[in-house]
């Protein structure tokens, strides 16, 4: 199938998400769609997959102009998209999710559907039990299901939005194999939306690069990485070299720490994080990293073991007690756990002040806010509410709310969803904290980030911690093995 996008425009208020983008896709090819955050990739793909209409411009399928009223409508015309957060129904069983809106028959035929699904799954070497609940599956498995569902719905062009974020190395291999097979054996078109250049280089035939809502150009890949980076950013951003740093005394010590939850038990964790050290936790989503961070923050009570902060026993301290003692925790859900959607930046700053008076001095608060907005380069006004900010700016706001000095900083996915520039900026900030002697314990799904930014690394697999490795001496490959539970 040949797909052409002509002069696509999409505005959100004053923001030009897409400003006249024209692209072409052919069958039997894998395309990469690159661009930093806010470049307009997601908007464009949502338009192509029927999730939202364009304000102006045309979609042409096999030289016939067409338009989509819904994603389901787009699928009947051969276009399907797998979202980063798959659009499935978590409380349903796999088979129900597969059958949902698949046909117009009154009674669900489970037996036939199970067989059909099994055949499709095994064709692409996927493995999911049809009776499991979607919510008990890994992200990679949910992706596989979406892929299979779209294929059974007749998709000829498949869009995958950041498909490798949060899935295991093994699942990634399976996914890439199936993508190659879809394109080269079955003649389908695959579009990979990604910010991971290595993956685009490895998998794609051709890459389109977007910047600020416009198409910068297309390029045959593989090609030198610098070329892609230059297209994405207009120039090659200078990579900050990670400063070496003298480590101080132990700040955080975990002794035989165990945490029990109905889903997962984290067992016997022993580790120390020193002043000025960055300690990375790797592992698949739901392997216990988050539980560990929450236990350190005082949000979860460990079932066994001890927590020490600068040699002081804090196992039974509450979250607020630890906060006052200089422990800070930044959760991954920025709007869910970190910020209050309807409150302005100024109101957030007021809430984050260490001292609360009965009456708020709004004038002083506004001054502090203006200053923080400047220091933390937040794109927004003091009275912008948190939900009006972009993801990167929400993260900046979160960091601007941290008090100084801190003894221990706990971070869950500190740079998830951020582009290279914002990521570098965040880590610059963290390195500053490090100089002040703050110990940093963080988790990330991005192995490159873990290796590049940490001093030492531990991997969690099913609640069990691996040996601790030195970041300078390890490789993605070694961590990949540890993630799989191998010693």
């Amino acid at each position: 199938m040949q797909v052409e996008l002509q002069d696509i425009h999409k505005f959100f208020g004053p923001v030009k998400a897409n400003a006249g983008i024209s692209l072409q896709f052919e069958g039997s090819k894998v395309y990469g769609l690159l661009g930093e955050n806010g470049a307009g990739k997601s908007t464009l793909m949502k338009i192509l997959s029927g999730y939202q209409p364009a304000d102006r411009g045309q979609i042409i399928l096999d030289s016939k102009p067409t338009y989509f009223v819904s994603p389901a409508n787009a699928l009947t015309q051969g276009i399907g998209m797998v979202y980063q957060d798959p659009l499935d129904i978590p409380p349903l069983r796999v088979i129900d999710n597969y059958l949902l809106a698949k046909d117009k028959k009154l009674i669900l035929n489970y037996q036939a559907a199970k067989k059909e699904m099994k055949d499709l799954l095994s064709k692409y070497n996927f493995d999911v039990d049809p009776d499991y609940l979607i919510e008990s599956l890994s992200l990679g498995q949910r992706q596989q299901l979406e892929l299979v569902r779209l294929l059974s719905g007749g998709a000829e062009l498949l869009i995958l939005d950041e498909p490798t974020t949060g899935i295991s190395a093994e699942q990634k291999e399976v996914l890439f194999d199936s993508i190659r097979r879809l394109a080269y054996d079955e003649g389908k078109t695959v579009i990979l939306v990604s910010h991971k250049l290595d993956e685009v280089q490895e998998l794609c035939d051709y890459a389109y690069v977007l910047r600020q809502g416009k198409l910068v150009g297309g390029i045959k890949v593989p090609c030198p990485n610098e070329r892609l980076v230059e297209m994405m950013f207009g120039q090659i951003p200078v990579r900050e070299v990670r400063p070496d740093h003298e480590l101080g005394k132990t700040v955080l010590e975990l002794k035989n720490l165990s945490i029990e939850t109905p889903r997962l038990t984290v067992q016997n964790i022993n580790l120390e994080v020193k002043s000025g050290e960055v300690f990375g936790l790797a592992g698949l989503e739901g392997s216990g990293q988050k539980l560990l961070l929450q236990a350190c923050a005082g949000l979860l009570r460990p079932s066994q073991g001890n927590l020490l902060l600068q040699d002081e026993e804090i196992t039974n301290w509450s979250y607020h007690h630890r906060q006052q003692a200089g422990v800070a925790y930044l959760a991954a859900g920025r709007l869910e756990e970190g910020l209050v959607a309807g409150l302005s930046i100024t109101e957030h700053i007021v809430l984050a002040q260490p001292k609360h008076d009965f009456l708020v001095d709004w004038r002083a608060a506004r001054d502090i806010t203006t200053e923080r907005i400047k220091t933390y380069q937040i794109v927004g006004r003091p009275d912008s509410t948190a939900d009006q900010l972009s993801g990167g700016n929400q993260q900046r706001l979160l960091f601007s709310l941290l008090n100084s000095p801190l003894k221990l900083l706990l971070l869950e996915h500190p740079t998830r969803g951020l582009d290279i520039r914002s990521t570098d900026w965040i880590w610059g900030l963290l390195n500053e904290r490090r100089k002040d002697g703050t110990a940093i314990l963080f988790m990330s799904a991005d192995l490159d980030e873990v290796i590049e930014r940490s001093d030492r690394i531990a991997v969690l697999s099913g609640g069990v911690m691996s040996r601790i490795v030195n970041a300078k001496e390890t490789t993605v490959d070694e961590l990949g093995h540890l993630i799989g539970g191998q010693a």
Binding site: S70, L87, D88, I89, P91, L99, A101, I107, P262
Partner: protein, 323 residues
């Protein structure tokens, strides 16, 4: 089994039937993601309307039909206010409850405490002669049969049919349903209205059958019980019906205890059903249950957790707008 016990069980089933119907209606509504909090007021309006229309037309059918229409209209108000006018679902439902209470008292003031039509006893031949089961389940009237069929029909529709799957998906994650080509708000209108109609029928089932006649505040409080039982039943039609029957049984038990211990205040026994309900609401799906599950032997944990851990439809009470 003694005849007395069988009679008692048959009576519990009859007493619980209107509640079963109301619980089914509200379960359908909530499974599609809408909270219709007006149940109590709706049932009173429907009980009054059903009684008056039944009396005036001398037709039970018209009585029930009118009650269903009243229920559907009340539900439509909740749906329209919430989806179209973007107002708070819970607030609308709550005010409708208050309205239904007083409006039914006003409109029905000339019809209080007078005899009216009664749903006739209708034993099913052959089946009624089966020992034990016969007299309990098949020596009843149409309201009871309707309630029993409704339990299984609702379960079957939700779990075995494509439209039922649509319904569930809309209550859990409307964005995903929309992506599959499902018209989220249309389904929500339809099932909120259907649910309201059932709640209306439940109201008339009181005034025309289980609690005959009309008086001011005739079914007051029963709507709230239905709402609690929906949660108690974990949003499942079958468990909801069991909850309704259990509630009826504890009420019957209270009556028996009252007769046995005449010296204890009546009020003490009347609170038994509530004690049971608050206990279940506090424990089911809580941290306590999680711990209880962890204490069990490994192979038991899976099924037990499925049975005890309940969670509301993920999108319950939210509104949906496609971008």
């Amino acid at each position: 089994m003694s005849d007395e016990l069988i009679r008692q069980l048959a009576s519990i089933l009859l007493q619980s039937s209107p509640l079963i119907i109301a619980v089914s209606g509200e379960t359908i509504t909530e499974r599609v993601g809408v909270i219709n909090l007006s149940v109590d007021g709706t049932m009173m309006m429907a009980a009054m309307t059903g009684f008056v229309v039944g009396l005036k037309t001398d037709s039970l059918l018209y009585g029930f039909l009118a009650a269903a229409i009243v229920g559907a209209i009340m539900a439509l108000l909740v749906a329209f206010g919430s989806f179209r006018l973007k107002q708070n679902q819970v607030a609308i439902g709550f005010v409708l409850t208050l309205l239904g209470d007083d409006l039914s008292a006003f409109l029905g003031q000339n019809y209080t405490r007078i005899p009216g039509p009664v749903v006739k006893h209708l034993p099913i031949p052959v089946l009624k002669d089966i020992p034990i089961i016969g007299p309990i389940f098949f020596n009843q009237d149409l309201v009871v049969y309707f309630a029993i069929v409704l339990i299984f029909l609702t379960w079957w529709y939700l779990n075995r049919t494509q439209p039922g799957l649509h319904l569930r998906s809309v209550g859990e994650r409307p964005e995903a349903s929309f992506a599959r080509g499902i018209n989220v708000n249309r389904l929500r209108y339809i099932y909120t209205i259907v649910g309201g109609g059932l709640i209306g029928i439940a109201g008339a089932a009181y005034s025309l059958d289980v609690k005959l006649g009309w008086s001011d505040g005739h079914t007051r409080g029963l709507g709230w019980i239905a709402l609690a039982i929906v949660i108690f039943g974990g949003w499942s039609p079958v468990r909801g019906a069991l909850g309704a029957i259990l509630f009826g049984a504890t009420k019957a038990l209270a009556t028996v205890l009252q007769r046995t211990f005449p010296e204890v205040s009546v009020v003490a026994f009347n609170s038994i059903p509530w004690l049971l309900m608050i206990f279940v609401l506090l424990t089911v799906g809580s941290e306590f249950t999680e711990r209880l599950i962890l204490l069990m032997p490994k192979p038991m944990r899976g099924p037990m957790s499925r049975a005890l851990r309940v969670s509301p439809p993920m999108a319950l009470g939210t509104t949906f707008e496609n971008e």
